[in-house]
Assembly symmetry: C2
Homo-oligomer: 250 residues x 2
């Protein structure tokens, strides 16, 4: 069967995360139901990775197999007609039959959105910080996260995996086009469970002066989740993009 690759955007508010679980609404299940309706056949979907309850995506990548001669553009239109308003298929394209959304991914990029001001527009994806943190100080600290290391200290489920080495290639706060609105942009080959939210929570403690910037070295070396800060709330977090060999990078 031909294989398709799709990029999916979702507002995770009210959803129980990506992965199908009995009895609660998930993005994966919603997408599989829409595909079953559009293609008239059960269609399992494989995503690039899980996102937690309340976490959003603008660039979740998935793959699935379709009946021969399925038209990708027409399928995208059909899916967007069926899916709830909080889920959108940004594009659908044919992929190599061996393409695997999860195993082939080489780089994942997350954004975490915050604001110095109270927020009325887009508050489902942005956290108001009061008072504003010291951005420069926080950015100096963030640069220490750019390394290949064991990130156990930022991993929520210690038992999840035996290999906790991640290659973080980018970790920085940048101001967005609207003054006073910032995002933390972090890329790595892989992320452990809860890793970005633990990083952001720890950096916000540093940015507000409640924790020294050089604490990051000690936290990383401890490999103990209790040494890092509290997880930042899910709603500021967005899976921004997933790169594969040959894509142009984040």
């Amino acid at each position: 069967m031909p294989r398709f690759k799709a990029t999916v955007e979702y507002d995770g508010t009210g959803w129980h995360g990506w992965q199908t679980q009995a009895g609660v609404p998930t993005i994966q299940e919603s997408l599989e139901q829409a595909l079953a309706t559009a293609l008239r056949t059960p269609t399992p979907v494989v995503g690039s990775g899980r996102t937690d309850a309340g976490v959003h995506a603008i660039g979740q990548v998935v793959h699935f197999d379709v009946p021969p001669s399925t038209d990708p553009v027409r399928l995208a239109g059909q899916l967007n007609g069926i899916l709830p308003r909080s889920v959108a298929v940004r594009d659908v394209a044919p992929a190599d039959e061996s393409f695997h959304a999860r195993f082939d991914a080489v780089l994942r990029t997350y954004h975490y959105h915050v604001s110095e001001h109270p927020v009325a527009i887009g508050r489902s994806t942005r956290l108001h910080l009061r008072p504003a943190p010291d951005w420069e100080h926080m950015n100096r600290a963030a640069s220490r996260l750019v390394r290949t290391a064991d990130f156990s200290a930022f991993c929520r489920t210690q038992a999840e995996t035996t290999n906790r080495v991640c290659a973080v290639s980018q970790a920085a706060w940048e101001e967005e086009s609207q003054p006073g609105q910032w995002r933390f942009r972090v890329s790595a080959d892989r992320f452990l469970h809860g890793m970005v939210r633990a990083m952001v929570g720890t950096l916000l403690e540093i940015g507000s002066g409640r924790r020294p910037a050089d604490d990051l070295e000690r936290i990383l070396e401890s490999r103990d989740r209790r040494e890092a800060g509290p997880a930042a709330p899910a709603r500021g977090l967005v899976l921004a993009r997933v790169d594969y060999p040959g894509s142009k990078g984040a």
Copy 2:
């Protein structure tokens, strides 16, 4: 009485615009009710200008008078505790007693948000265009709007005002930080009723090839609203900022 200046953000979805009208929810009324509660006295609010039903703001500027020794920071906190989630006071500061939010404004800037992709996050403030317009072509056309001229052809209510001369100092489409998401950014000393939405509607016709770019000259000279394109939907429009003498410009 001391006068305060405040910057207000709102998601206009479901609101009947800025200006108080009997029997329907408006932003002005909501703000006046919150001020009456916080200050324990009726407090009329003057905004920099009206926004229509469904139109948003990140930088609406207002003024109002307060009892002596009112603390602006404490007041902002109180207001944000009272206001509905779709309205936020970004800051409150003392102003000169002669400051007038409407008459003193020298420059107003609007953004209109669109997307080449279906949208799930932030869809209350962004329009999905299908197919994507020709951005370069549309930008060449937009540059012809940068002039001081009679903009009657882009004014919804012909009877509104006898002076329909506006000095448009900026009108351009720019790609936002997320690829495929664009905004039209337009600044002028004043805007006529429905002017930005008529401009955007006309430019989108040009960008999709349904109208030649040099049509703008003819439309402007006609001073006839029927010559311009249909108004773009309210929900993509955001009052971004209002400048006063001495502020640094849009």
